[in-house]
C-alpha cells in the first residue's frame, strides 16, 4: 500500500534542520535504511547546537522507537507540520481506552504505521494499525503479570513504556520480568526474570536498547531492595552483564577504566566502605528512571535512586553508589566515571532523572554536555566525556543546600535542613517528591533550551508517631508536604538555558507538573497537567498556543509522529496516577495530610480536579 507524503511546512529557520529529510516514502518503505535522521541529528544548527551524532538510530523522522525518541533523551521531534502558526487548529483525531484505570506514565511508540501502547499493571501491550480510521487494534499481548506484584510491591503499578529493536517490542512488567514480543505477530519471543517480587523488587522503567543489549533496572528502594542495571541480549534475553549500585567494585563493575572526575568519588570498594556493616545489602540505589547513550563515546548514562532505608541516621557514611550518575561501557557494563549527587541522603532525593546529551557551545567552547535536571532542585550540567561538573543552578526554591562547588563536586548544604530521627525539621525545599520527579524534560536544539516539568513543594519533617506494618508497631516521622514559596501554584514549566543557568521563560501551573514534555521542530512544546489539560506553548517565549481538556489527569509523556497519511500527529496518555496523582484515587484518603508519604498535603485538592482514567489521545488536523 502506498501512502502519500505531504509536503512539509518549512520555515526559514528550520531549513538547516529539515534539509535532506524529505524522504518519508523511503522511510516508510524501509525505516532501517533511512539515514537521513542520523545526518539530521549530527548536523549542528547555525546556533552550534546539536544532538550527538547517531542518537536517533535508524528510525525515520516520523517514528518514535524508543522512550525519549533518541538515545540523547531529548524528546525532540524533527517534525514541523504542526507549528506555532497552526497548532491552534489541533483536534482529536483518535482516542482509545486502555481499559486500565491507573496512572498512565510513559509514552506510546510508533514504528512504521503501527503504534504500540503498554498499560500500567497488568501491563498489556496493544498494537494499533494507524492506517485504519480511528486506529484499529491489530492484537493485544497479555504478559500474565503476577497479581502478587501489586500486593507485595504495594506502591506504584505504573509502566513507563517500551522500546523497539530487532523486530521486537521489548518492555518490563511489574513483577520484574522483561518480555520481548514480535512487533508484527504479537507473539512472545523471550522472557527473562530480572528481579524477585518476593523481596519487593518490581520494574516500572522503560528499557533502552543499545548495541543489541536491553538495559533494565529495578525499583523497590523503599523495601530494602539493592539496585542494579542488567543488560540482556536482544536476541535471546540472556543476561550479558549486571551492575549493582552497592557492594564491592566487582559487583558495581568498577575496574581499571574507572576515573571519577572528583577525588570524592575515587577509592576502592566505596560501595562497601561507605556503609556500616552489611547495610549495603539493603542499600537501595535502584535504577527506575531513564537511560541515555552516546554512540561515539560508547557510553551509557543513568542515575541511581535513594539509599536504602530512608532514615539517614541508620546508615552512617556516604552510602555509595546511591544517588549517583554513572557512565558505563554498554558492551561490558564497566563504569567509566561516576558522580554522587548527594552523599548520605536525608531527603529521598533519588536522581534517576533523565540525562539529556547535547553538543553545544559552553563558555566559548564546543562541549559534549550532559544536562541533568535534578530532584534536588539543581540543574546539573556535566562534561559527559569525563564527569566534570560545569554548572549547577537551582530552578525551583531550594533550602537544603546553598550551592554546588564545581571545584570539588561537593554540595554546600544547610546543616539544619538535614533530617534526623526524632528531630523536627521544617521548611525543607524541595520536598521528597523533588523539584521534579521521573517525568522527563525535553530539549530543543533549535532554541537550546531544556523544558523542565517542575514542582514547587516543600515539606516539614515532624515528630514521631505510632505506625504498624506486618504485625509490628514502629515509629515513623510524619512528613507533611505543602505548596512552596510564592502564590500557591505548585507546578511550573521552566524553559531553562543550560549555559546561562537560568530560565528564559516559564508557565506556572496550579498542580505539580507530572507529565513529560515534548519539543518539536515546529517550535511547539507540549505538556499535560494533573487536572487533565493538554497544552501547547511557544518554545521561544512560553506563550500559550492551544489546550484541550482530556478525561483524566495527564502523567504520561507526549510524542510526535507522522502517520501513514503523511501528516504529523501528537499522542499522549490521560490517566492520573503516580506518587502524587494516586491521591486522586478514591481509595486514597486525603483527610490525613501524611497519606502517600506526605504528598497528600501538597495536593489535597486533586480529588476535586480529576478522576481516574486510562486513555490514549491522538491530535492532528
Amino acid at each position: 500500500m502506498r501512502h502519500t507524503c505531504l509536503r512539509r511546512v518549512v520555515t526559514a529557520a528550520s531549513i538547516a534542520l529539515t534539509t535532506g529529510v524529505d524522504a518519508c516514502e523511503k522511510a516508510r518503505a524501509n525505516p532501517a535504511e533511512d539515514t537521513a535522521a542520523v545526518r539530521l541529528a549530527a548536523a549542528p544548527l547555525p546556533n552550534g547546537i546539536a544532538l550527538p551524532a547517531g542518537v536517533t538510530g535508524t528510525q525515520g523522522d516520523g517514528e518514535w522507537t524508543m522512550p525519549a525518541r533518541d538515545f540523547a533523551s531529548s524528546r525532540y521531534s524533527p517534525l514541523s507540520d504542526i507549528n506555532v502558526a497552526n497548532v491552534g487548529n489541533l483536534k482529536v483525531t483518535m482516542n482509545m481506552s486502555t481499559g486500565v484505570l491507573q496512572g498512565h506514565e510513559g509514552q506510546p511508540l510508533v514504528i512504521g504505521s503501527t503504534m504500540y501502547v503498554v498499560t500500567p499493571y497488568p501491563n498489556k501491550l496493544f498494537s494499533i494499525d494507524l492506517t485504519k480510521p480511528g486506529g484499529v487494534v491489530n492484537w493485544t499481548f497479555s504478559p500474565g503479570t503476577s497479581d502478587r506484584a501489586v500486593g507485595i510491591a504495594c506502591c506504584d503499578i505504573v509502566n513507563r513504556g517500551a522500546a523497539y529493536a530487532d523486530g521486537k517490542i521489548i518492555y518490563n512488567t511489574l513483577d520484574a520480568h522483561t518480555v520481548a514480543v514480535d512487533a508484527k505477530t504479537g507473539k512472545e519471543v523471550w522472557r527473562t526474570q530480572v528481579g524477585d517480587i518476593n523481596i519487593g523488587e518490581t520494574v516500572t522503567m522503560a528499557p533502552l536498547i543499545v548495541k543489541g543489549k536491553v538495559l533494565v533496572g529495578n525499583s523497590g528502594g523503599e523495601l530494602g531492595v539493592r539496585g542494579h542495571l542488567t543488560a540482556l541480549d536482544v536476541t535471546t534475553g540472556k543476561q550479558v552483564w549486571k551492575a549493582w549500585s552497592t557492594g564491592s567494585d566487582a559487583d558495581v563493575l568498577i575496574g581499571p577504566d574507572f576515573k571519577a572526575f572528583y577525588p570524592r568519588d575515587r577509592g576502592a570498594n566505596l560501595g562497601l566502605s561507605t556503609w556500616t556493616k552489611d547495610q549495603w545489602k539493603l542499600g537501595g540505589g535502584t535504577v527506575w528512571g531513564w537511560l541515555s547513550y552516546d554512540p561515539n563515546l560508547n557510553l551509557i548514562y543513568y542515575g541511581t535512586g535513594n539509599p536504602g532505608v530512608w532514615n539517614a541516621d541508620l546508615r552512617p557514611g556516604d552510602n555509595k553508589w546511591s544517588i549517583t550518575l554513572f557512565a558505563r561501557d554498554p558492551d561490558t557494563g564497566q563504569a567509566k566515571w561516576a558522580y554522587q549527587f548527594v552523599k548520605h541522603d536525608a531527603w529521598d532525593y533519588d536522581e534517576i532523572m533523565e540525562n539529556v546529551l547535547v553538543d553545544m557551545p559552553f563558555n566559548g567552547q564546543q562541549r559534549k554536555l550532559l544536562i541533568h535536571p535534578g530532584r534536588t532542585g539543581f540543574v546539573y550540567v556535566f562534561d559527559r566525556t569525563n564527569g566534570e561538573l560545569l554548572k549547577a543552578e537551582t530552578y525551583q526554591p531550594v533550602t537544603w543546600a546553598k550551592s554546588v562547588d564545581l571545584k570539588t563536586g561537593e554540595t554546600v548544604e544547610v546543616p539544619e535542613k538535614r533530617t534526623h530521627d526524632g528531630v523536627i525539621t521544617r521548611g525543607i525545599c524541595p520536598s521528597s517528591t523533588g523539584a521534579k520527579d521521573q517525568q522527563p524534560s525535553a530539549f530543543s536544539p533549535r532554541t537550546g533550551l531544556l523544558y523542565i516539568p517542575a514542582h514547587n513543594v516543600c515539606m516539614d519533617y515532624e515528630g514521631v508517631e505510632a505506625n504498624y506494618i506486618a504485625g509490628t508497631p514502629y515509629v515513623g516521622a510524619s512528613v507533611r508536604m505543602y505548596p512552596g514559596p510564592g502564590d500557591g501554584r505548585r507546578g511550573e514549566l521552566v524553559a531553562w538555558d543550560p549555559v546561562k543557568g537560568q530560565p528564559v521563560c516559564s508557565i506556572k501551573e496550579d498542580l505539580p507538573l507530572w507529565s513529560g514534555i515534548l519539543a518539536t521542530a515546529g517550535d511547539v512544546v507540549f505538556y499535560g497537567t494533573m487536572d487533565g489539560w493538554f497544552k501547547a506553548i511557544d518554545a521561544r517565549n512560553c506563550a500559550p498556543l492551544w489546550q484541550f481538556k482530556t478525561g483524566s489527569g495527564v502523567v504520561g509523556n507526549p510524542i510526535a509522529y507522522r502517520g501513514p497519511d503523511g501528516k504529523q500527529y501528537i499522542a499522549v496518555y490521560s490517566g492520573v496516577g503516580g506518587w502524587m496523582g494516586a491521591i486522586a484515587f478514591p481509595s486514597v484518603s486525603i483527610d490525613d495530610p501524611y497519606t502517600a508519604l506526605g504528598a497528600a498535603g501538597a495536593v489535597p485538592d486533586i480529588k476535586e480536579k480529576t478522576r481516574m482514567g486510562g486513555m490514549l489521545y491522538v491530535f492532528g488536523f
Binding site: 499493571y121 497488568p122 497479555s142 500474565g144 503479570t145 503476577s146 497479581d147 502478587r148 501489586v150 500486593g151 507485595i152 504495594c154 506502591c155 503499578i157 524477585d196 517480587i197 518476593n198 523481596i199 519487593g200 523503599e222 523495601l223 530494602g224 556500616t276 556493616k277 552489611d278 547495610q279 539493603l282 536504602g308 532505608v309 530512608w310 532514615n311 541516621d313 541508620l314 552512617p316 533530617t419 530521627d421 526524632g422 519533617y461 514521631v464 508517631e465 505510632a466 505506625n467 504498624y468 506494618i469 506486618a470 504485625g471 509490628t472 508497631p473 514502629y474 515509629v475 515513623g476 516521622a477 512528613v479 481509595s587 486514597v588 484518603s589 483527610d591 490525613d592 501524611y594 508519604l597
Partner: protein
C-alpha cells in the same frame, strides 16, 4: 480477569454453634452464598496470608483464632480478604471496602478507627540463653560490643523504636538490619530476625514481643526474652504498645459491637495470646 489485583477471599461458615468448616478459596471479593440458614452478614476480616503468629491463610494465627471466636459467638460467617500487611494494606483492604476489620493495630493508629485495646505487649531483647548476656536496657554496657539485629521498615522515615534508642547512644554502627518485609516466598518473613539470633548471626535482637515470643518457643536452641526496660526511652520513644482492632474511620457502630465482643471474650482471648507466647503487660489475672 484472572490477573486482577483484588485480594483473595476465603469464606468460612459457622452453622450455629457447630464448627462446620467450609473453606472456599475464590478470586476477588464475590458475594458467596453457601448453604447457610443464617442471613447474617459476614464478619469480614482483612489479614495477611503469611504472617504468623498473627495470621496466615490456614488461619493458624492468634488473630485468626480471635476472629473465629467472635464470628462463632455471633453466628456469623467469617470471610477473609488476604493481602500482605505492608504499605498499602489498609488502602487496598479496609478502605477499599473489601473487608471491615483489621485484627491488630496500635491503639493510636490514625489510618483506622481503633477499638478499645485488647492487649498490651512490649518490645523484647532476644538472646540465646547459652550466651548469658542478660540485656534488659539500652544502657547496658554489654551492648557496645554486640551485633544488634533489628527490623528495618524501609520507607516513610519509619523505624523500629530500637533504632532510635541505639542511635541516641551512638550504637548505630552495631545495627544489622533485617527488612520487616523479608522474602515473601518464605513462611512468615519477619521471623528471619529471630532466626538470626538462633544461628548466631547477631548477638541480640530487639523484636516486637508477639513475634519474638512465638518464634522463641519454636527455636531449636533456648532463647531468652527480656522486656525492654524502661518501657519508654525518654523523652518519647515507646517500646510498649496497646493493640486494638481497627475498623474504617466513621464505622462507630461496628466498633461498638467489637468493643462488647472483646469484653465478652476477654478470658478466651487472653488464653489464646498466652498460648501463642505473646508477652503481655498489665494483663488481668497475672
Amino acid at each position: 480477569m484472572s490477573s486482577d489485583s483484588e485480594g483473595h477471599t476465603a469464606v468460612r461458615v459457622w452453622h450455629e454453634n457447630m464448627a462446620l468448616c467450609l473453606p472456599l478459596l475464590v478470586f476477588g471479593v464475590m458475594a458467596m452464598s453457601p448453604a447457610s440458614r443464617s442471613e447474617q452478614p459476614s464478619l469480614r476480616v482483612c489479614a495477611d496470608p503469611n504472617n504468623l503468629p498473627f495470621s496466615d491463610s490456614a488461619e493458624n494465627g492468634f488473630e485468626n483464632r480471635i476472629a473465629t471466636l467472635i464470628a462463632r459467638g455471633r453466628g456469623q460467617r467469617l470471610e477473609y480478604t488476604w493481602w500482605p500487611a505492608r504499605r498499602g494494606f489498609i488502602r487496598n483492604t479496609l478502605r477499599a471496602g473489601r473487608c471491615d476489620i483489621v485484627m491488630g493495630v496500635p491503639s493510636s493508629y490514625e489510618l483506622t478507627l481503633p477499638s478499645t485495646p485488647y492487649y498490651r505487649s512490649t518490645y523484647v531483647f532476644v538472646t540465646r540463653t547459652d550466651r548469658h548476656l542478660a540485656v534488659r536496657s539500652f544502657d547496658d554496657t554489654v551492648l557496645r560490643h554486640l551485633r544488634i539485629g533489628i527490623h528495618m521498615m524501609g520507607d516513610d522515615y519509619a523505624n523500629s523504636p530500637a533504632a532510635l534508642s541505639l542511635q541516641r547512644r551512638r550504637l548505630g554502627a552495631q545495627i544489622i538490619g533485617y527488612m520487616i518485609y523479608g522474602d515473601y516466598s518464605k513462611p512468615h518473613p519477619p521471623s528471619a530476625l529471630i532466626n538470626a539470633v538462633t544461628r548466631g548471626d547477631v548477638d541480640v535482637a530487639v523484636a516486637w514481643g508477639p513475634l519474638a515470643g512465638y518464634f522463641a518457643k519454636q527455636s531449636r536452641v533456648p532463647l531468652t526474652l527480656a522486656n525492654v526496660s524502661p518501657a519508654i526511652d525518654l523523652p518519647f520513644t515507646p517500646f510498649v504498645f496497646d493493640i486494638a482492632l481497627g475498623v474504617r474511620r466513621g464505622d462507630t457502630a461496628r466498633r461498638a459491637m467489637l468493643d462488647s465482643e472483646l469484653v465478652r471474650h476477654r478470658v478466651d482471648i487472653e488464653r489464646i495470646l498466652r498460648d501463642f507466647g505473646v508477652p503481655l503487660l498489665n494483663a488481668r489475672a497475672r
